[in-house]
Amino acid sequence: MTRNLRYLIPIALLLVILPYALPPYQTILFSYGLIFAIAALGFNLLLGYTGLLSFGHSAYFGVGAYAPAFLVKYFGAGSMELFLLAGIFFTAVVSAVFGFICVRYTRIFFAILALALSQVLWSLALKLFWLTNGTDGLRVPTPTLLGGLASDVLGSAETKLDFLSHRYYYYVLAVFFLCVAVMWVIVNSPFGKALQAIRDNETRAEFVGVQVRRYRWIAFLVSGVFTGLAGSLWVVLNGLVTPDILYWTFSGEIVFLTVLGGFRTFAGPILGAVVFNFLKAYAVGFTVYWQFLLGAVLVVIVLSMPTGILGTANTIWLRLRRAA
């Protein structure tokens, strides 16, 4: 940990001065990256630490995104903290139920079941037009942060772009730091060790007294809530939520960016999220065949770096140190 602080402090400082160093558009892109990183942290509690590959995490991100939209639609609420609480509450409920079903299975059956359940939510979001507005989606206007405490440093002339690239960026950053800290503690807690034991050897874990299914369920719940929280942050940045966010391809993106960064390390998914987000943004601008281009780039990266960007960086670093 103290060793890690040497990297953490400069990185944290960079993140703090970022809005002053980059144009607003880039800062907002970075916000997206941080938000996906929170989702990936949650996702990787299951993949990297519990050994469960969920192909349905769009469900929790989506529920987290729809929850604030419903608050706006039905109650006219405009408080960011309420948005987050609603996101946490609803994703906790949904992931508790879905998790209860999924953890009865492992491996590919788990993955497929998680996928199928997320597709159910997607089709509901499409069909229940009175609730979700179907493909038109629901709008989420700019909320107040911290009950207005942190409002309008820039005066009333603040544009939406200013808001998103400054105040909201810092809000996202603060939540991101908090999520990283909490997840760091979780994976290094006795509970986290129990999850890793389950990943390594389910039978033996049971025989040291770990109730495997129950622990998987709790991991699922925590994972879903992190991803849902990310969804709630995302919907404000995006301003709109449509059923697309529940579609399985988005689950695929979460899997991909986690593997890209390296699911065997704590920070891998964070790096993967930020990198993936930039790759995607530039690929979209570069060519209409962006999905093909991105897919090709990712295949090359994953094949050449099976342990992800961070895993590979680690190996190279160790090799350099040994050579020196």
């Binding site: 807690s189 006795p190 986290g192 060790k193 034991a197 025989f207 040291v208």
Partner: protein
């Protein structure tokens, strides 16, 4: 006092009567050797008693309580622990964490999400102590997957031991290690078991090991108990010597 008792315990795999109406008992404080040829049903008996497999019939009593239909978790809480014939470890965790986990579990701390495992001094120290006892202290920080076979066998036993069970099943603790390593490994294990006053059932093929380290021997053959007695009685039992020992024991 009878610590464990099975009545007409049964486990069939199709036509294979792996455990066939077995009455098996373990007395408090003894080190019992469970022997028998390959496929005699020794591992299956342990699998059923420890809760890994459900029985097809019969009853299991532990400390006078019927545990036949209890979950693995309940049996562990009652004090039954086991090691595995084929090493079963948490390969990506360090040796220290492999031992710390059963200790956390025993102390009901594995539900703690918001506390750092490494900051729990008491657990760390106890885990270090267990590693020390098993001669694995120098490997504490190494991942279990990186150990040599003999060390892996020892760690496998240590993981079960760290639960501080009342009854410990050790399924071939020296299988897969060289003959030279067997005695030292058994020395370590038996001295720990005896000094910890743990009742142990040791499955073992090597007859030298069996006669040296056990108080009582139970012989299984094709799912049934063929003989049960002190090492001397078993050595003199002709039925046993002809079916089993003929080839393995030195005259």
């Amino acid at each position: 006092m009878r610590l464990l008792e099975t009545q007409r315990l049964k486990k069939y795999f199709g036509d294979t009567h792996a455990v066939d109406e077995v009455d098996f008992s373990v007395t408090q404080g003894e080190v019992l050797a469970l022997i028998g040829a390959n496929g005699a049903g020794k591992t299956t008996l342990v699998n059923v008693v420890s809760g890994l497999l459900p029985p097809d019939g019969g009853k299991i009593h532990f400390q006078g309580i019927d545990v036949t239909h209890q979950s693995i978790h309940q049996r562990i809480e009652a004090g039954i622990a086991r090691s595995f014939q084929l090493v079963n470890l948490f390969d990506q965790l360090t040796c220290l964490d492999n031992i710390a986990l059963p200790i956390f579990s025993r102390e009901k701390k594995t539900r703690r999400l918001m506390a750092l495992a490494d900051k729990d001094r008491a657990v760390r120290e106890e885990a270090m102590e267990v590693l020390q006892q098993f001669g694995l202290a120098p490997k504490a920080a190494m991942v279990a997957g990186g150990l040599a076979q003999g060390e892996r066998k020892l760690l496998d036993v240590a993981v079960a031991y760290a639960l501080r069970p009342r009854l410990l099943f050790l399924d071939e603790p020296t299988s897969g290690v060289s003959t030279r390593e067997k005695a030292p490994i058994m020395d370590i294990i038996t001295s720990i078991v005896r000094s910890g006053k743990i009742t142990a059932v040791v499955i073992e093929h090597d007859m030298d090991v069996v006669f040296t380290y056990s108080d009582r021997i139970v012989v299984m053959h094709e799912g049934k108990i063929l003989a049960d007695g002190s090492p001397d009685e078993i050595r003199r039992n002709e039925q046993v010597t002809t079916t089993l020992l003929g080839t393995t024991v030195a005259p």
